[in-house]
Amino acid sequence: MLPTAALTAGRFASSLSQFLGKGSGEVIGGRLALRIDPQLLARVGRTRRSVLVTGTNGKSTVTALVAAALRARGRVVTNATGANMPDGIVTVMASDRTSELAAIEVDEVYLRPVVDALEPQVIIALNAFREYTRGVSLAATLEHWRDVADHLPSDSVVLANADDPLTMWAFEGAPRVVAVEGALGWHGDAALCPACGREHQWSADGWSCPGCGRRRPDPAWRIETQLADGTWLIEHPLGSEAVRVAVPGRTAPIGAAFALAAGVEMGIDVRATAEAISRVVDVDGRYFPFPVRGRSARLLMLKNPAGWTEAIDVAVTSGSPFVIAVDPFGPKDTTTMWEAPFRRLSGRSLPVTGGRAADALAVLEASQVDGAEFPDASDAIAAATAGEGSTGEVIVACNYPAFRRLSKQFRASMQ
């Protein structure tokens, strides 16, 4: 079947969704189009050379950096809005039929159909944490990835996080694996070796399994240090490269290392890749520093204990003021906060805002940290106090709906 009929029906559904105020319509349009023509994603996508980015945390950021890196070579189609399942990806691919390169974020449990359709050159596997929204077990996700690894194109490469034993195990069967230093701030989900069931041992050298002998590989791409001018020095098989990344915390060098590696695997000069990455200033509103009441506020979107733990770590190590913004989106909307180490912020008074502020205050109460509710997010940001050595930039830790609402609100106030 020609893709035209399926695409036309999908576009009609998308337009209808927009007209009815139900959202951008990317997902519904793509779903209908794929129902009409199940091979549509392959038809509109396989002609490009593509990099897929998957993992539980950090996909959007790394995808944006990879897209920037690929632009050093040519035009790039990317799903910057985060529609990362096959129905969203097909819509994005269909909307741009001319770009020869693709940087695509893929939901971790939909990797196989996207790999089969696009036959990518590079797959970036960031990490595997337990997810709390869909009831999919981590074991099922890892088995899915093992299956993907067995069916990858023979000329493809997987850039895998050397610091995550689960990710490394899942892609063992891939035609070629290159280890990248990707860090793992939260070891709880990777406690057991997925190969033999023994408990991992963790040391300054990384993880190792006393049962089967698997251990952290020496990464080919390694984060060396942060230089005085704020750039990160990434060591790689060809030398080292300094990269500037407009992203806070450890996410910056990790994303840069993966994006540099992806650029080189796609045949782009490493210096040109680094320069392209350094030009990124925003990732879907995630790290853009919004001016609010004379302060600079960065929004972080957090969806599991690993994410909250990372955000708290950034606040503690940078001394940055910290605000919690949580809105309602179903029964589990604040569940993941309870396992995060908020006690590390004791001694501060944290402003909280949003429709689930009461839950956030209860979490802080249980962690013996002071908190105060502000109905208006701008008031909360203005009230945030800094820790020692603060840069003054306010971290606004959000759940998903609060992130969407505040990015929209602050973006509008800038125009």
Binding site: V136, S137, A139, A191, T336, A362
Partner: protein
């Protein structure tokens, strides 16, 4: 008792639901009474764990067979049956403690047998629920969420923990969980012991022989719970005659 050993058992075997925070919630309620708690998370099968309170959790039936197999390698059952330990189990953990459980394919498997009940696959509606106060157990109206991925059939003489009301347009009340001398189970996640300190106190009372003093109030936790209960109470329900028509349930967004 000078130190309370609280062990979270095999959390990686089941689907994550935030239940691991029940351990810190329980420890905090103990510390408010001057009792120090030693927390551990047990992941390795076959490890000896001499805990005073065992905690189990997880969402739905995924991983229950693995959980049961791992629990059989510990002395949890013996310690509970001999009165040396208490077990508090949520959802998947509760299924593991029952006599048997049946998965989606209909295959029946044996559980640990600490609860005289059988578990079947449920209808899988995710919802926030509020409970009816159980004054006999010292429990006020509590709050939590249930995925209802499993359904428990209690044998005669097995006492449910409480009754719940959900936000969905379905049967307005359902019995939840099990309470026995040294076994307490529920399908409520939240984490339920963090959102409902009185339930944490009930678990503690079963594990501590001495009389427990009142704990300091937790006003923010009270407020968070009150707001969720108010949301459940404000949910519009279908008239009973509509519910009896057997029409597909209208899922509430959010």
């Amino acid at each position: 008792m000078t130190e309370l050993a609280i062990a979270t058992m095999f959390p990686l075997a089941t689907v994550a639901a935030g239940d691991e925070a029940n351990a810190t919630a329980l420890a905090r309620r103990a510390q408010l009474r001057g009792i120090q708690a030693r927390l551990s998370t047990v992941n390795t099968p076959g490890a000896e764990v001499a805990a005073d309170i065992y905690l189990l959790g997880g969402d739905g039936l995924s991983g229950v067979s693995d959980l049961v197999a791992r629990l059989r390698g510990t002395d949890l059952k013996e310690r509970v049956l001999s009165g040396r330990a208490v077990v508090f189990a949520v959802d998947a953990g509760m299924a593991a403690l029952c006599r048997s459980w049946r998965d989606v394919s209909g295959e029946r498997s044996h559980g640990l047998g600490l609860i005289d009940a059988d578990v079947h696959t449920g209808h899988g509606d995710l919802e926030t629920v509020a409970t009816i106060p159980e004054t006999g157990l010292g429990l006020p109206a509590m709050v939590g969420w249930r995925s209802d991925a499993l359904f428990i059939s209690r044998r005669p003489g097995v006492r449910p923990l409480c009754a719940v009301r959900g936000v969905k347009t379905g049967s307005p009340w359902a019995l939840d969980g099990v309470v026995a001398d040294r076994v307490i189970a529920t399908q409520l996640h939240g984490p339920v012991l963090a959102l409902n300190p009185e339930l944490a106190d009930l678990v503690l009372r079963r594990a501590i022989d001495a009389q427990m003093s009142d704990a300091a109030p937790a006003p923010h936790t009270e407020e968070a719970r009150a707001r969720r209960i108010a949301e459940v109470a404000a949910t519009k329900r279908s008239p009973p005659w509509i519910e009896h028509l057997g029409l597909p349930r209208r899922r509430r967004k959010g």
